[in-house]
Protein backbone atom coordinates (compact mmCIF):
# COMPACT_ATOMS: atom_id res chain seq x y z
CA UNK A 1 0.00 0.00 0.00
CA UNK A 2 1.29 3.46 -0.84
CA UNK A 3 2.13 6.05 1.80
CA UNK A 4 0.45 9.42 2.12
CA UNK A 5 1.32 12.51 4.13
CA UNK A 6 -1.43 13.92 6.33
CA UNK A 7 -0.73 17.40 7.66
CA UNK A 8 -2.65 18.30 10.84
CA UNK A 9 -2.44 21.87 12.04
CA UNK A 10 -1.09 24.51 12.65
CA UNK A 11 -4.66 25.63 13.31
CA UNK A 12 -6.89 22.65 13.84
CA UNK A 13 -10.03 22.08 15.94
CA UNK A 14 -8.41 19.08 17.67
CA UNK A 15 -5.61 21.14 19.19
CA UNK A 16 -5.92 23.99 21.60
CA UNK A 17 -2.77 25.70 20.39
CA UNK A 18 -0.93 26.08 17.07
CA UNK A 19 1.36 23.17 16.24
CA UNK A 20 1.79 21.20 13.04
CA UNK A 21 2.06 17.43 12.73
CA UNK A 22 3.00 15.84 9.42
CA UNK A 23 1.85 12.22 9.62
CA UNK A 24 3.07 9.56 7.20
CA UNK A 25 0.06 7.26 6.94
CA UNK A 26 -0.58 3.89 5.39
CA UNK A 27 -4.33 3.35 5.32
CA UNK A 28 -5.52 4.21 8.84
CA UNK A 29 -2.17 3.48 10.49
CA UNK A 30 0.38 6.17 11.30
CA UNK A 31 3.88 5.15 10.20
CA UNK A 32 5.90 8.16 11.34
CA UNK A 33 5.41 11.75 12.40
CA UNK A 34 7.26 15.00 11.90
CA UNK A 35 6.52 17.76 14.40
CA UNK A 36 6.77 21.40 13.35
CA UNK A 37 6.74 24.01 16.07
CA UNK A 38 7.34 27.73 16.26
CA UNK A 39 3.92 29.18 15.48
CA UNK A 40 3.58 30.69 18.92
CA UNK A 41 6.93 32.36 19.48
CA UNK A 42 6.61 35.64 21.34
CA UNK A 43 10.20 36.51 22.23
CA UNK A 44 9.48 36.64 25.96
CA UNK A 45 13.05 35.91 27.02
CA UNK A 46 14.42 38.76 24.91
CA UNK A 47 11.75 41.09 26.32
CA UNK A 48 12.71 39.94 29.81
CA UNK A 49 16.35 40.92 29.35
CA UNK A 50 15.20 44.52 28.93
CA UNK A 51 13.39 44.50 32.27
CA UNK A 52 14.45 44.28 35.90
CA UNK A 53 13.87 41.06 37.91
CA UNK A 54 10.72 42.35 39.64
CA UNK A 55 9.14 43.15 36.27
CA UNK A 56 10.17 39.74 34.90
CA UNK A 57 8.11 37.97 37.58
CA UNK A 58 4.92 39.29 35.98
CA UNK A 59 6.23 38.66 32.47
CA UNK A 60 7.07 35.04 33.34
CA UNK A 61 3.52 34.57 34.62
CA UNK A 62 2.38 35.31 31.09
CA UNK A 63 4.48 32.51 29.56
CA UNK A 64 1.56 30.18 30.28
CA UNK A 65 -1.91 30.74 31.66
CA UNK A 66 -2.18 27.44 33.49
CA UNK A 67 1.39 27.33 34.87
CA UNK A 68 1.14 30.95 35.98
CA UNK A 69 2.64 30.11 39.36
CA UNK A 70 5.26 27.57 38.21
CA UNK A 71 7.18 29.96 35.96
CA UNK A 72 7.52 32.84 38.46
CA UNK A 73 8.28 30.24 41.15
CA UNK A 74 11.17 28.83 39.12
CA UNK A 75 12.37 32.30 38.16
CA UNK A 76 12.33 33.53 41.76
CA UNK A 77 14.20 30.43 42.88
CA UNK A 78 16.81 31.05 40.17
CA UNK A 79 17.37 34.65 41.30
CA UNK A 80 17.40 33.60 44.98
CA UNK A 81 19.96 30.93 44.06
CA UNK A 82 22.13 33.47 42.20
CA UNK A 83 22.06 36.14 44.92
CA UNK A 84 21.75 33.90 47.97
CA UNK A 85 18.48 35.20 49.44
CA UNK A 86 17.04 33.21 52.37
CA UNK A 87 13.28 32.80 52.02
CA UNK A 88 11.30 32.87 55.31
CA UNK A 89 9.76 29.58 56.43
CA UNK A 90 6.15 30.82 56.22
CA UNK A 91 6.66 31.98 52.63
CA UNK A 92 7.89 28.48 51.74
CA UNK A 93 4.62 27.01 53.02
CA UNK A 94 2.43 29.57 51.23
CA UNK A 95 4.34 28.94 47.99
CA UNK A 96 3.79 25.21 48.39
CA UNK A 97 0.06 25.65 49.00
CA UNK A 98 -0.44 27.81 45.91
CA UNK A 99 1.75 25.51 43.77
CA UNK A 100 -0.39 22.53 44.81
CA UNK A 101 -3.63 24.45 44.18
CA UNK A 102 -2.30 25.11 40.70
CA UNK A 103 -1.55 21.41 40.19
CA UNK A 104 -5.08 20.60 41.35
CA UNK A 105 -6.78 22.91 38.88
CA UNK A 106 -4.38 22.07 36.05
CA UNK A 107 -4.95 18.31 36.36
CA UNK A 108 -8.74 18.79 36.57
CA UNK A 109 -8.60 21.00 33.49
CA UNK A 110 -6.59 18.33 31.71
CA UNK A 111 -9.04 15.60 32.72
CA UNK A 112 -11.84 17.64 31.14
CA UNK A 113 -9.84 18.25 27.96
CA UNK A 114 -8.97 14.55 27.67
CA UNK A 115 -12.65 13.61 27.97
CA UNK A 116 -13.50 16.21 25.32
CA UNK A 117 -10.82 14.84 22.96
CA UNK A 118 -12.36 11.36 23.01
CA UNK A 119 -15.75 12.91 22.38
CA UNK A 120 -17.20 12.45 25.88
CA UNK A 121 -18.35 16.00 26.58
CA UNK A 122 -20.60 15.21 29.55
CA UNK A 123 -17.49 14.26 31.53
CA UNK A 124 -15.86 17.52 30.46
CA UNK A 125 -18.67 19.51 32.06
CA UNK A 126 -18.73 17.31 35.17
CA UNK A 127 -15.02 17.90 35.76
CA UNK A 128 -14.94 21.59 34.90
CA UNK A 129 -17.89 22.28 37.19
CA UNK A 130 -15.84 20.87 40.06
CA UNK A 131 -12.81 22.86 38.99
CA UNK A 132 -14.56 26.18 39.66
CA UNK A 133 -14.14 25.79 43.42
CA UNK A 134 -10.34 25.81 43.30
CA UNK A 135 -10.37 28.86 41.00
CA UNK A 136 -12.53 30.72 43.52
CA UNK A 137 -10.15 29.75 46.33
CA UNK A 138 -7.20 31.03 44.29
CA UNK A 139 -9.05 34.29 43.72
CA UNK A 140 -9.78 34.83 47.39
CA UNK A 141 -6.19 34.05 48.44
CA UNK A 142 -4.28 35.83 45.69
CA UNK A 143 -6.71 38.31 44.14
CA UNK A 144 -6.91 36.73 40.69
CA UNK A 145 -8.26 33.54 39.20
CA UNK A 146 -5.43 32.86 36.79
CA UNK A 147 -2.44 35.22 36.94
CA UNK A 148 -2.01 35.16 40.69
CA UNK A 149 0.73 37.78 41.05
CA UNK A 150 1.71 36.67 44.55
CA UNK A 151 5.29 35.66 43.87
CA UNK A 152 8.11 37.98 44.83
CA UNK A 153 11.84 37.43 44.98
CA UNK A 154 12.50 36.35 48.57
CA UNK A 155 8.98 35.31 49.51
CA UNK A 156 5.34 35.96 48.67
CA UNK A 157 3.38 39.22 48.48
CA UNK A 158 0.24 38.13 50.31
CA UNK A 159 -0.14 36.39 53.63
CA UNK A 160 -2.64 33.64 54.46
CA UNK A 161 -5.24 34.74 57.00
CA UNK A 162 -7.21 32.51 59.38
CA UNK A 163 -10.24 32.94 57.12
CA UNK A 164 -8.27 31.71 54.10
CA UNK A 165 -7.11 28.62 56.00
CA UNK A 166 -10.71 27.74 56.91
CA UNK A 167 -11.85 28.24 53.32
CA UNK A 168 -8.97 26.07 52.09
CA UNK A 169 -9.67 23.19 54.45
CA UNK A 170 -13.37 23.31 53.52
CA UNK A 171 -12.47 23.23 49.81
CA UNK A 172 -10.16 20.27 50.39
CA UNK A 173 -13.04 18.38 52.07
CA UNK A 174 -15.20 19.22 49.04
CA UNK A 175 -12.53 17.86 46.68
CA UNK A 176 -12.05 14.69 48.71
CA UNK A 177 -15.75 13.99 48.09
CA UNK A 178 -16.08 15.08 44.45
CA UNK A 179 -12.88 13.33 43.39
CA UNK A 180 -14.52 10.03 44.20
CA UNK A 181 -17.08 10.75 41.49
CA UNK A 182 -14.42 11.82 38.98
CA UNK A 183 -12.28 8.76 39.71
CA UNK A 184 -15.35 6.56 39.44
CA UNK A 185 -16.10 7.91 35.98
CA UNK A 186 -12.54 7.93 34.65
CA UNK A 187 -11.42 4.56 35.96
CA UNK A 188 -14.65 2.55 35.48
CA UNK A 189 -16.38 4.07 32.47
CA UNK A 190 -16.24 1.67 29.52
CA UNK A 191 -15.94 4.40 26.86
CA UNK A 192 -12.88 5.93 28.48
CA UNK A 193 -11.24 2.52 28.99
CA UNK A 194 -11.78 1.59 25.35
CA UNK A 195 -10.23 4.78 24.07
CA UNK A 196 -7.26 4.96 26.46
CA UNK A 197 -6.04 1.46 27.30
CA UNK A 198 -3.18 0.22 25.13
CA UNK A 199 -3.07 3.44 23.07
CA UNK A 200 -0.20 5.92 22.83
CA UNK A 201 2.27 3.67 24.58
CA UNK A 202 5.54 5.19 25.76
CA UNK A 203 7.83 2.44 27.01
CA UNK A 204 10.11 2.97 29.99
CA UNK A 205 13.17 2.72 27.74
CA UNK A 206 11.87 5.40 25.33
CA UNK A 207 10.77 7.64 28.19
CA UNK A 208 14.26 7.56 29.69
CA UNK A 209 16.02 7.95 26.33
CA UNK A 210 13.89 10.96 25.30
CA UNK A 211 13.98 12.57 28.80
CA UNK A 212 10.25 12.93 29.24
CA UNK A 213 9.13 14.74 32.39
CA UNK A 214 6.14 14.96 34.70
CA UNK A 215 3.16 12.61 34.73
CA UNK A 216 4.14 11.47 31.19
CA UNK A 217 7.33 9.83 32.45
CA UNK A 218 5.86 8.68 35.77
CA UNK A 219 3.08 6.81 33.93
CA UNK A 220 5.82 4.88 32.10
CA UNK A 221 7.16 3.63 35.43
CA UNK A 222 10.04 6.07 36.04
CA UNK A 223 9.88 7.64 39.53
CA UNK A 224 11.08 11.10 38.48
CA UNK A 225 9.80 14.08 40.49
CA UNK A 226 11.72 17.24 41.41
CA UNK A 227 9.76 17.47 44.66
CA UNK A 228 11.33 14.18 45.71
CA UNK A 229 14.69 14.20 43.92
CA UNK A 230 15.69 17.69 45.03
CA UNK A 231 13.24 18.85 47.73
CA UNK A 232 12.61 22.58 47.95
CA UNK A 233 10.12 24.93 49.64
CA UNK A 234 8.04 22.94 52.14
CA UNK A 235 8.34 19.62 50.30
CA UNK A 236 11.42 18.73 52.34
CA UNK A 237 9.33 18.67 55.54
CA UNK A 238 6.86 16.09 54.32
CA UNK A 239 6.93 12.64 52.84
CA UNK A 240 6.15 13.11 49.15
CA UNK A 241 6.40 10.05 46.96
CA UNK A 242 6.42 10.05 43.16
CA UNK A 243 3.16 8.61 41.81
CA UNK A 244 4.06 5.57 39.70
CA UNK A 245 1.55 2.89 38.66
CA UNK A 246 2.35 -0.57 40.04
CA UNK A 247 2.28 -2.25 36.66
CA UNK A 248 3.12 0.52 34.26
CA UNK A 249 2.09 0.06 30.63
CA UNK A 250 2.86 3.65 29.72
CA UNK A 251 -0.45 4.06 27.90
CA UNK A 252 -2.92 6.94 28.14
CA UNK A 253 -4.96 5.21 30.83
CA UNK A 254 -1.87 5.18 33.08
CA UNK A 255 -1.40 8.90 32.49
CA UNK A 256 -5.04 9.53 33.46
CA UNK A 257 -4.57 7.41 36.60
CA UNK A 258 -1.31 9.17 37.47
CA UNK A 259 -2.87 12.62 37.28
CA UNK A 260 -5.96 11.67 39.27
CA UNK A 261 -3.82 10.18 42.07
CA UNK A 262 -1.64 13.29 41.98
CA UNK A 263 -4.73 15.41 42.66
CA UNK A 264 -5.33 13.32 45.80
CA UNK A 265 -1.68 13.79 46.74
CA UNK A 266 -2.00 17.58 46.28
CA UNK A 267 -4.96 17.60 48.68
CA UNK A 268 -2.86 15.74 51.27
CA UNK A 269 0.05 18.16 50.82
CA UNK A 270 -2.22 21.20 51.25
CA UNK A 271 -3.75 19.64 54.39
CA UNK A 272 -0.27 19.01 55.79
CA UNK A 273 0.81 22.59 55.03
CA UNK A 274 -2.30 24.05 56.69
CA UNK A 275 -1.64 22.06 59.86
CA UNK A 276 2.07 22.79 60.06
CA UNK A 277 2.35 26.33 58.71
CA UNK A 278 4.70 28.35 60.95
CA UNK A 279 4.22 32.00 61.93
CA UNK A 280 6.53 34.76 60.78
CA UNK A 281 7.44 37.03 57.90
CA UNK A 282 6.46 36.34 54.31
CA UNK A 283 9.14 38.42 52.59
CA UNK A 284 12.92 38.46 53.05
CA UNK A 285 13.18 42.11 51.91
CA UNK A 286 10.01 44.16 52.28
CA UNK A 287 11.31 47.28 50.56
CA UNK A 288 11.10 46.55 46.83
CA UNK A 289 13.20 49.60 45.88
CA UNK A 290 16.02 48.35 48.13
CA UNK A 291 15.62 44.82 46.73
CA UNK A 292 16.02 46.17 43.19
CA UNK A 293 19.10 48.16 44.24
CA UNK A 294 20.60 45.02 45.80
CA UNK A 295 19.86 42.93 42.72
CA UNK A 296 21.44 45.51 40.41
CA UNK A 297 24.68 45.12 42.40
CA UNK A 298 24.55 41.32 42.41
CA UNK A 299 26.65 39.02 40.30
CA UNK A 300 26.31 35.31 39.61
CA UNK A 301 24.22 32.67 37.96
CA UNK A 302 21.39 30.60 39.33
CA UNK A 303 19.04 27.78 38.43
CA UNK A 304 15.49 27.37 39.69
CA UNK A 305 13.64 24.07 39.31
CA UNK A 306 10.04 23.35 40.14
CA UNK A 307 7.77 20.39 39.50
CA UNK A 308 5.03 22.13 37.52
CA UNK A 309 1.78 20.21 36.86
CA UNK A 310 3.15 19.14 33.46
CA UNK A 311 6.65 18.29 34.60
CA UNK A 312 9.89 19.93 35.51
CA UNK A 313 10.13 23.65 34.79
CA UNK A 314 13.64 25.14 34.83
CA UNK A 315 14.74 28.76 34.74
CA UNK A 316 18.31 29.95 34.38
CA UNK A 317 19.39 33.50 35.23
CA UNK A 318 22.73 35.33 34.99
CA UNK A 319 23.13 38.62 36.83
CA UNK A 320 26.15 40.86 36.16
CA UNK A 321 25.87 44.08 38.20
CA UNK A 322 23.28 45.56 35.85
CA UNK A 323 19.67 46.53 36.64
CA UNK A 324 18.47 43.91 34.13
CA UNK A 325 19.59 40.27 34.09
CA UNK A 326 22.20 39.43 31.47
CA UNK A 327 20.53 36.13 30.54
CA UNK A 328 17.18 34.59 31.29
CA UNK A 329 16.32 31.18 29.92
CA UNK A 330 13.08 29.36 30.61
CA UNK A 331 12.58 25.70 29.81
CA UNK A 332 8.96 24.62 29.97
CA UNK A 333 7.99 20.96 30.59
CA UNK A 334 6.32 20.56 27.18
CA UNK A 335 9.70 21.11 25.52
CA UNK A 336 10.88 17.76 26.92
CA UNK A 337 7.61 16.03 26.13
CA UNK A 338 7.59 16.85 22.39
CA UNK A 339 9.94 14.05 21.28
CA UNK A 340 8.12 11.31 23.27
CA UNK A 341 5.20 12.03 20.92
CA UNK A 342 7.06 10.21 18.13
CA UNK A 343 7.00 6.69 19.70
CA UNK A 344 3.48 7.34 21.04
CA UNK A 345 2.08 8.07 17.56
CA UNK A 346 3.79 5.08 15.93
CA UNK A 347 1.22 2.52 14.71
CA UNK A 348 -1.68 4.48 16.17
CA UNK A 349 -4.88 5.17 14.26
CA UNK A 350 -5.79 8.56 12.78
CA UNK A 351 -8.77 8.83 15.15
CA UNK A 352 -6.41 8.60 18.13
CA UNK A 353 -4.39 11.67 17.12
CA UNK A 354 -6.31 14.15 19.36
CA UNK A 355 -6.18 12.06 22.54
CA UNK A 356 -2.53 11.07 22.07
CA UNK A 357 -1.48 14.66 21.44
CA UNK A 358 -3.50 15.77 24.50
CA UNK A 359 -2.15 12.96 26.70
CA UNK A 360 1.11 14.76 27.51
CA UNK A 361 -0.90 17.86 28.50
CA UNK A 362 0.88 20.00 25.90
CA UNK A 363 1.31 23.72 26.38
CA UNK A 364 2.68 25.00 23.10
CA UNK A 365 2.73 28.61 24.26
CA UNK A 366 5.20 27.55 26.98
CA UNK A 367 7.48 25.57 24.73
CA UNK A 368 7.74 27.70 21.60
CA UNK A 369 11.01 29.55 21.44
CA UNK A 370 12.32 28.37 18.08
CA UNK A 371 11.59 30.54 15.01
CA UNK A 372 12.85 34.08 14.71
CA UNK A 373 10.03 36.57 14.22
CA UNK A 374 10.82 40.20 13.53
CA UNK A 375 8.17 42.80 12.65
CA UNK A 376 5.55 40.07 12.16
CA UNK A 377 7.69 38.36 9.46
CA UNK A 378 9.02 34.85 9.92
CA UNK A 379 12.63 34.57 8.83
CA UNK A 380 14.54 31.40 8.07
CA UNK A 381 18.26 31.83 8.54
CA UNK A 382 20.85 30.45 6.14
CA UNK A 383 24.42 29.51 7.01
CA UNK A 384 25.89 32.99 6.41
CA UNK A 385 23.22 34.67 8.55
CA UNK A 386 23.80 32.22 11.35
CA UNK A 387 27.54 32.86 11.20
CA UNK A 388 26.88 36.61 11.42
CA UNK A 389 24.61 36.04 14.42
CA UNK A 390 27.30 33.96 16.05
CA UNK A 391 29.89 36.74 15.63
CA UNK A 392 27.42 39.28 17.04
CA UNK A 393 26.82 37.14 20.09
CA UNK A 394 30.55 36.70 20.73
CA UNK A 395 30.95 40.48 20.59
CA UNK A 396 28.03 40.98 22.94
CA UNK A 397 29.43 38.49 25.43
CA UNK A 398 32.90 40.06 25.27
CA UNK A 399 31.45 43.51 25.98
CA UNK A 400 29.79 42.30 29.15
CA UNK A 401 32.92 40.75 30.62
Amino acid sequence: MSEFTLPVGPVHPAFKEPIQFKFKIEGEKIKSVDIDMGYNHRGIERAGMKRNPVQIIYLSERICGICSFSHPFSFSRAVENAVGIEVPERAHYIRTIIAELERLHSHLLWAGVAAHEIGFDTVLYLVWKNREKVMDICESITGNRVHYGVMMIGGVRRDLTEEHCQKLSKAMEYYNETLTAIEDVFLNEKTIKMRTQGIGILSKKDALALSAVGPTVRASGVPKDVRVDQPYAAYADMDVKPIVPEKANGDIFDRVWCRLVEVRQSIQIIDFCLQNIPKGDTLAEKNIVKLLADLSQAEGEGIGRHEAPRGECTHYVVLNKQPNPFTWKARAPTYNNVLPWVPMFKDAEIADIPIISASIDPCIACADRVTIVENNKTKTLNKIDLHKKSIEKSKRLKKCQ
Partner: protein, 131 residues
Protein backbone atom coordinates in the same frame (compact mmCIF):
# COMPACT_ATOMS: atom_id res chain seq x y z
CA UNK B 1 -24.24 -2.77 34.66
CA UNK B 2 -25.12 0.94 34.73
CA UNK B 3 -22.32 3.10 33.33
CA UNK B 4 -20.97 5.32 36.14
CA UNK B 5 -21.52 8.52 34.16
CA UNK B 6 -25.25 7.83 33.82
CA UNK B 7 -25.66 8.09 37.61
CA UNK B 8 -24.19 11.60 37.69
CA UNK B 9 -26.06 12.62 34.57
CA UNK B 10 -29.46 11.76 36.05
CA UNK B 11 -28.49 13.46 39.33
CA UNK B 12 -27.50 16.57 37.39
CA UNK B 13 -30.91 16.74 35.67
CA UNK B 14 -32.56 17.62 38.99
CA UNK B 15 -30.07 20.24 40.18
CA UNK B 16 -29.94 23.96 39.53
CA UNK B 17 -27.68 25.27 36.72
CA UNK B 18 -24.16 25.89 37.98
CA UNK B 19 -23.48 28.95 35.82
CA UNK B 20 -24.18 32.43 37.16
CA UNK B 21 -25.92 34.77 34.77
CA UNK B 22 -24.31 38.10 34.00
CA UNK B 23 -25.35 40.58 36.73
CA UNK B 24 -27.66 43.18 35.22
CA UNK B 25 -26.32 46.14 37.17
CA UNK B 26 -22.89 45.65 35.58
CA UNK B 27 -23.93 46.07 31.96
CA UNK B 28 -23.05 49.34 30.14
CA UNK B 29 -25.19 52.40 30.81
CA UNK B 30 -27.36 52.36 27.72
CA UNK B 31 -28.74 48.84 28.20
CA UNK B 32 -29.23 48.76 31.99
CA UNK B 33 -32.38 50.86 31.82
CA UNK B 34 -33.79 48.33 29.43
CA UNK B 35 -32.75 45.40 31.58
CA UNK B 36 -34.10 46.96 34.77
CA UNK B 37 -37.61 46.35 33.49
CA UNK B 38 -37.00 42.64 33.29
CA UNK B 39 -35.70 40.15 35.82
CA UNK B 40 -32.42 41.21 37.41
CA UNK B 41 -29.74 38.72 38.41
CA UNK B 42 -28.18 39.75 41.71
CA UNK B 43 -24.44 40.41 41.34
CA UNK B 44 -21.95 37.94 42.82
CA UNK B 45 -19.64 39.72 45.24
CA UNK B 46 -16.06 39.97 43.98
CA UNK B 47 -13.35 38.42 46.15
CA UNK B 48 -12.11 40.44 49.10
CA UNK B 49 -8.59 41.03 47.82
CA UNK B 50 -9.62 41.37 44.19
CA UNK B 51 -7.29 43.42 42.03
CA UNK B 52 -9.50 45.51 39.78
CA UNK B 53 -9.12 48.93 38.19
CA UNK B 54 -6.67 51.19 40.02
CA UNK B 55 -7.53 54.48 41.67
CA UNK B 56 -5.02 57.32 42.05
CA UNK B 57 -4.97 60.15 44.60
CA UNK B 58 -3.39 63.02 42.70
CA UNK B 59 -2.80 65.29 45.71
CA UNK B 60 -1.18 62.64 47.88
CA UNK B 61 1.42 61.63 45.25
CA UNK B 62 4.95 62.86 46.02
CA UNK B 63 6.40 62.02 42.60
CA UNK B 64 9.05 59.51 43.72
CA UNK B 65 8.47 57.44 40.54
CA UNK B 66 9.10 54.10 42.31
CA UNK B 67 6.00 52.75 40.57
CA UNK B 68 7.50 53.46 37.15
CA UNK B 69 10.52 51.30 37.99
CA UNK B 70 8.47 48.24 38.98
CA UNK B 71 5.59 48.39 36.47
CA UNK B 72 5.96 45.32 34.21
CA UNK B 73 3.80 46.71 31.39
CA UNK B 74 5.22 50.28 31.24
CA UNK B 75 1.76 51.68 31.97
CA UNK B 76 2.88 54.55 34.19
CA UNK B 77 4.39 57.71 32.68
CA UNK B 78 6.09 60.59 34.44
CA UNK B 79 4.33 63.93 33.90
CA UNK B 80 4.44 67.44 35.33
CA UNK B 81 1.10 68.94 36.37
CA UNK B 82 -0.12 72.56 36.09
CA UNK B 83 1.75 73.65 39.24
CA UNK B 84 4.98 72.12 37.97
CA UNK B 85 4.86 69.19 40.41
CA UNK B 86 6.05 65.67 39.55
CA UNK B 87 3.02 63.41 39.09
CA UNK B 88 2.14 60.26 37.13
CA UNK B 89 -0.24 59.37 34.32
CA UNK B 90 -1.60 55.84 33.87
CA UNK B 91 -2.99 54.17 30.79
CA UNK B 92 -5.38 51.59 32.29
CA UNK B 93 -5.99 49.85 28.95
CA UNK B 94 -2.42 48.50 29.09
CA UNK B 95 -2.49 47.61 32.82
CA UNK B 96 -2.03 43.96 33.82
CA UNK B 97 -3.47 44.48 37.34
CA UNK B 98 -0.53 42.93 39.17
CA UNK B 99 -0.74 45.59 41.88
CA UNK B 100 3.02 45.96 42.26
CA UNK B 101 2.75 49.78 42.11
CA UNK B 102 0.32 49.67 45.06
CA UNK B 103 2.84 47.69 47.12
CA UNK B 104 5.80 49.90 46.29
CA UNK B 105 4.11 53.30 46.82
CA UNK B 106 5.57 54.92 49.97
CA UNK B 107 2.56 57.22 50.60
CA UNK B 108 -0.16 54.74 49.51
CA UNK B 109 -1.73 57.01 46.91
CA UNK B 110 -2.62 54.05 44.64
CA UNK B 111 -5.43 51.60 45.48
CA UNK B 112 -7.17 48.77 43.71
CA UNK B 113 -10.96 48.87 43.38
CA UNK B 114 -13.39 45.99 42.76
CA UNK B 115 -14.31 47.48 39.36
CA UNK B 116 -13.63 44.95 36.61
CA UNK B 117 -15.68 45.95 33.56
CA UNK B 118 -13.41 48.18 31.55
CA UNK B 119 -14.63 47.65 27.99
CA UNK B 120 -14.66 50.86 25.97
CA UNK B 121 -14.73 52.03 22.35
CA UNK B 122 -11.77 54.36 22.89
CA UNK B 123 -8.57 53.08 24.50
CA UNK B 124 -7.65 56.58 25.64
CA UNK B 125 -11.06 57.54 27.06
CA UNK B 126 -11.40 59.34 30.40
CA UNK B 127 -12.49 56.16 32.13
CA UNK B 128 -9.24 54.45 31.13
CA UNK B 129 -6.81 57.23 32.03
CA UNK B 130 -5.71 58.02 35.55
CA UNK B 131 -3.94 61.27 36.35
Amino acid sequence: MIPPMLKYLIKQLFTKPFTNLFPANRVPNDTSAFLAKGKITPPIPVAENYRGKLSYEHDKCIGCYSCIRVCPANVIKAVTDKDGKRKIKMDVSKCTFCGQCIDVCPVKCLHSTPEFLLADYDKKSKNLTLE
